[in-house]
């Protein structure tokens, strides 16, 4: 029983980090209807900005974290302007965007291979990782609780932004129909920039936590494929879906590794993806996508 509770806790903590990344995928998808595979790159950018501001400028974690969030958000906007906007304006075929985003993800990863080298970097111990005993039932680290809290804070903040602000309203309108929102007087270019900025910012939060936990290296972005799977399971374009999908995926991974075999965990992840797409391509919470099937 203790082991079971422990694996549940492990799964939730993994899922909460996936959630931060998965909402970024879903957010971009809800507006532009394509899967932005460069999202993992934003996460790496955030991680490296945090690392260098901490180490070279001796900043504290709050300042470094702030710089990382803003920097990654800015890079996301830049990526959209340079690589996606020209394609968007030329054609409505989203698959070109998909391929361009894969290219961007390769570019970002290898830029860091060249600039920062392939070495694994560890962030200084700015986030406590001491073990915390949970009522004698299970042990988790202070880090897990903090990452869970950060996920809740940022996702809550996103929810407030979407429901309480003018731009949030515009984003939600655009998620129904981008063109109509444009006709209603929404500045579509700026709206898309804001969406990318928010997605990049959330990716950087995930990036900081991931690089504390798993160290920082140029290929760290590859882990976002799991978050992407979570976003699909929850329903691409749906934010609650992304969160629920992430938690399901985190639990599925940990329970498979704990009670079946650690070698099967990725197989379970990708089987869930395929099964979801066959049975219910719109995912758990997705909009009806009849026009897509």
């Amino acid at each position: 029983m203790g082991t079971f509770i422990q694996q549940i806790i492990n799964g939730l903590s993994l899922g909460s980090v996936y959630a931060l990344i998965a909402v970024g995928y879903s957010l971009v998808y809800s507006i532009l209807l394509f899967s932005n595979f460069a999202h993992g790159g934003f996460l790496v950018i955030g991680g490296y900005i945090c690392y260098y501001t901490l180490n070279l400028m001796g900043a504290n974690i709050w300042l470094a974290g702030f710089a990382a969030l803003i920097g990654a958000g800015f890079c996301a906007v830049l990526t959209e302007r340079l690589a996606y906007k020209p394609i968007r304006e030329r054609t409505s075929v989203t698959l070109y965007l998909l391929i361009a985003s894969m290219g961007m993800s390769i570019v970002i990863e290898n830029l860091f291979v060249i600039i920062a080298g392939g070495r694994f970097r560890a962030l200084p111990p700015v986030i406590p990782t001491a073990p915390v005993d949970l009522f004698g039932l299970a042990t988790t680290s202070a880090f897990d609780l903090l990452s869970l809290a950060a996920a809740v804070v940022f996702l809550g903040g996103l929810q407030l932004f979407l429901t309480r602000t003018k731009w949030g309203l515009a984003i939600r309108a655009a998620a129904y129909d981008l063109r109509v929102a444009g006709l209603m007087g929404v500045n579509v270019g700026r709206l898309i920039s804001i969406v990318f900025f928010v997605a990049g910012l959330l990716a950087a939060v995930g990036g900081i936590f991931l690089s504390v936990r798993y160290t920082l290296y140029p290929q760290l972005g590859a882990i976002t494929i799991k978050a992407f799977v979570a976003a699909v399971i929850g329903g691409l374009g749906s934010l609650p879906g992304a969160v629920v999908g992430s938690l399901i995926l985190g639990l599925a991974e940990m329970l498979t590794a704990g009670f079946l075999s650690s070698q099967l965990r990725d197989l379970v992840v990708f089987s869930l993806l395929v099964i979801t797409l066959i049975v219910r391509p719109s995912g758990l919470f997705g909009k009806d996508i009849k026009e897509k099937v």
Binding site: G2, T3, Q6, Q7, N10, L14, V113, G117, G118, R119, F120, R121, A122, P125, T129, A130, P131, D133, T139, T140, S141, F143, D144, R213, Y214, T215, Y217, Q219, I223, E253, M254, A257, G258, S262, Q263, R265, D266
Partner: protein, 382 residues
């Protein structure tokens, strides 16, 4: 787009002119993972190999001929290693190849170098199959400068069960790595002979998995008192860190020669008190000059010192063989390497046995203490 094409063309010209062959030099290939997951080890090896080459050339080369180093990246992948070795042999016509630093890579390239008749020296490639084929016959052009996995597995088992008296063992190994699987197998065999019992035998997938809490939870609940880690640095560091986070305070970590100083950055406190079976010790006085020279040349500590020292001494071993070969053809060099006897390189005295393995090297045990790996003891199992 036009500018970009011009840029590509310019790069091509630079590349091709760089390949122009300088006469009278002896070319030595170096296979190193400069990118990918093993980049830290590979970049250090390249640096030390260049250091060795600079030193020998400053002395006028070997028999009046300078050494030219050809370094190719293999990204930590067999596929790229095969292509890189093929290119070294067929395009660059190297006299011999040093590297790689992983058994799986050397096994994958063994067919190629033995067919072409060009020697390849593994630096930390410890799997027996590196120098011996499936039928137990020695591969005539495959060599290594380190000791082998059966020997290393035995050292770990001996140290855990006999020296530390820890007999409830757990092992967490990398299913994607020949090195890790081989070490696990030989450890399990010897551990039972020394009276130990394996209570948990768990696996992960190197290069992809970064979260080990599920496996560690199982190991914790099995009540192991020692956790054996036959892996590469990054994974071992993450495992130790996550184990401590799960409240596994008492368990002792023993690892193999994948130890690297950069693990401290990742694992921090969790490293303290862990033991590492290894080939060399950084305190070895014979290596002091090497560390100083490395620092002067690269303005960086030689953190991955095992790879650094073994890569460096593999080069010196090769230099000696080239000098003894007379006419340095690949075949003569191979003969000279195979007949090496009582050769003093920096970290050890090398004598080749019939399977191209160095004979009877001592195992060094390092203990992780006060932020660095320190010499603990030397062992030779009974």
């Amino acid at each position: 787009m036009k500018k970009f094409v011009l840029f590509l063309a310019a790069l091509l010209v630079v590349t091709l002119s760089g390949m122009a062959i300088a006469a009278d030099t002896i070319k030595v290939g170096y296979l190193a993972a400069l990118t990918g997951d093993w980049a830290a080890y590979g970049q250090t090896e390249r640096n030390t190999a260049m250091l060795a080459v600079d030193e020998i050339n400053a002395k006028g080369g070997i028999n009046g001929r300078k050494i030219e180093l050809v370094v190719y990246d293999f990204r930590g992948r067999q596929e790229d290693a095969v292509n890189a070795v093929r290119r070294m042999i067929e395009e660059d016509k190297v006299a011999a190849i040093v590297g790689a630093n992983a058994s799986g890579i050397n096994i994958a390239t063994a067919a190629l170098v033995n067919k072409a008749g060009v020697s390849q020296i593994g630096t930390v490639s410890t799997n027996p199959a590196v120098t011996v084929d499936r039928n137990g016959k020695v591969r005539p052009y495959s060599f290594r400068v380190c000791f082998t996995d059966p020997y290393q597995g035995k050292l770990i088992a001996y140290f855990a069960a006999h020296e530390l008296k820890l007999t409830k063992g757990a092992i967490l190994y990398d299913i994607a790595s020949d090195y890790s699987q081989g070490l696990r197998e030989f450890f399990m065999k010897s551990y039972a002979e020394y009276g130990g019992k394996v209570v948990a035998d768990e696996a992960f997938k190197g290069g992809q998995d970064v979260d080990f809490r599920a496996q560690l939870t199982k190991i914790r609940d099995a009540g192991a008192d020692v956790l054996v880690l036959p892996n590469m640095g990054k994974e071992m560091a993450l495992i130790m860190k996550q184990a401590r986070e799960l409240g596994m305070k008492e368990i002792t970590f023993i690892g193999g020669d994948g130890y690297a100083e950069f693990m401290w950055e990742i694992a921090g406190e969790a490293m303290e008190g862990s033991y590492w079976i290894n080939h060399v010790a950084p305190e070895d006085p014979a290596m002091a000059k090497f560390f100083a020279d490395y620092k002067t040349k690269y303005n960086d500590e030689c953190k991955e010192f095992v790879n650094g020292i073994l890569g460096y001494d593999a080069m010196y071993w090769l230099f000696d063989a080239i000098a003894r070969a007379g006419d340095p053809t690949p075949a003569n060099i191979a003969k000279a390497l195979a007949t090496t006897e009582n050769l003093q390189v920096h970290h050890a005295v090398l004598t080749m046995d019939e399977f191209h393995n160095p004979k009877d090297k001592d195992g060094v045990v390092l203990i992780a203490k006060d932020g660095r790996g320190q010499f603990f003891t030397k062992i030779k199992p009974e």
